[in-house]
Symmetry: C2
């Protein structure tokens, strides 16, 4: 049997029976095999997603060179907001790095649910602001820290990610070549061994 | 006489008389002279702002080296969201690059207004999502474009900014030294002259 939004952990406490019924009717949860492209550059985003399980990455194709700007994992919202809100073509890609289970949030469902349930919209506002805050911090970290420092931050904050994504994607996320990432790792290991 | 939020262009059409009265009571508009520091690293943000007039920049102090991550001008919201939402100390500064007129939006006012007026919260959600979308695009532009391309984008999208902010701040915003910015400008002028 398919999983429903109202069956997700913690959701029954958040949703009234009526809200739960409408969520389950309007918002499907789907499985996507590894490699699935959710959004292509040039497409208009008509959906956003919420990651239940798996890993999605957002990336840009710069003259054939792939640049990852985010890895989304369990508990994170995945959205090409500029494209979704303004209904204009996206300039990037969203693809599944692993097999994924995702809540599929359409523009049409959002309008119906927010129109009926101001509380639901309020919860979403808080979540979006929190994600925006985290994004401001991420941008700042890119501006103010070296790739080695950003790698150390990842090691502390999202250690599981380092095991889950291929090294060339991790390197592109840190803004370095795979060879540089390999040197960064060796340097860190050498420092740890010298302690 | 002091300016009130309900007197701002377009606001009378958006707000009911009751909303306008509460906004004017809870949300002041204040003037800040050039150089005013609105938020210091280490402070907890208890306010956000909306720029009516002037220019505010967000910057980081990296071992004495100033790095600007944003210039906020007329019509833009100014917020250290991570600090404001989580009520934790900010890791950056907000300061007025010019004399500024700003709407001062406190956490307390937000709670009272959103509690009473779901429509107001809905408008804010849409605005925050739109700003978040723009921020995603900005991060992507930093990851995918050269400083020269980013300078050309600024020239096209925010030409007035280039006249308003000091060159060393503009250079830090583009992630280059003032000398590099000067070279970029000369290269662009030479290309234009050769056309």
């Amino acid at each position: 049997m398919d999983l429903k939004p109202s069956q997700l952990p913690g959701m029954s406490a958040l949703l009234s029976p009526e809200e739960a019924r409408d969520m389950d009717r309007l918002v499907p949860i789907r499985h996507f095999p590894k490699g699935t492209v959710l959004l292509k550059a040039g497409d208009v985003a008509t959906e956003a997603w919420f990651c239940i399980d798996g890993c999605v990455h957002m990336y840009y194709d710069v003259d054939g060179d792939l640049r990852t700007t985010e890895f989304y994992t369990e508990g994170q919202a995945v959205a090409s907001l500029y494209s979704f809100i303004n209904q204009v073509p996206a300039n990037h890609y969203l693809a599944c790095v692993e097999d994924c289970t995702l809540v599929v949030w359409s523009y049409a469902a959002e309008r119906e649910l927010f129109g009926k349930y101001p509380n639901l919209e309020s919860s979403c506002r808080v979540a979006v602001e929190s994600d925006f805050g985290a994004h401001q911090e991420k941008f700042a970290s890119f501006i103010t820290k070296s790739p080695e420092q950003r790698y150390l931050d990842l090691l502390e904050q999202r250690p599981e990610l380092l095991q889950r994504v291929p090294q060339y994607l991790l390197a592109s996320y840190l803004g370095v070549t795979p060879e540089s990432l390999s040197r960064i790792r060796k340097r860190i290991l050498a420092k740890e061994a010298a302690r």
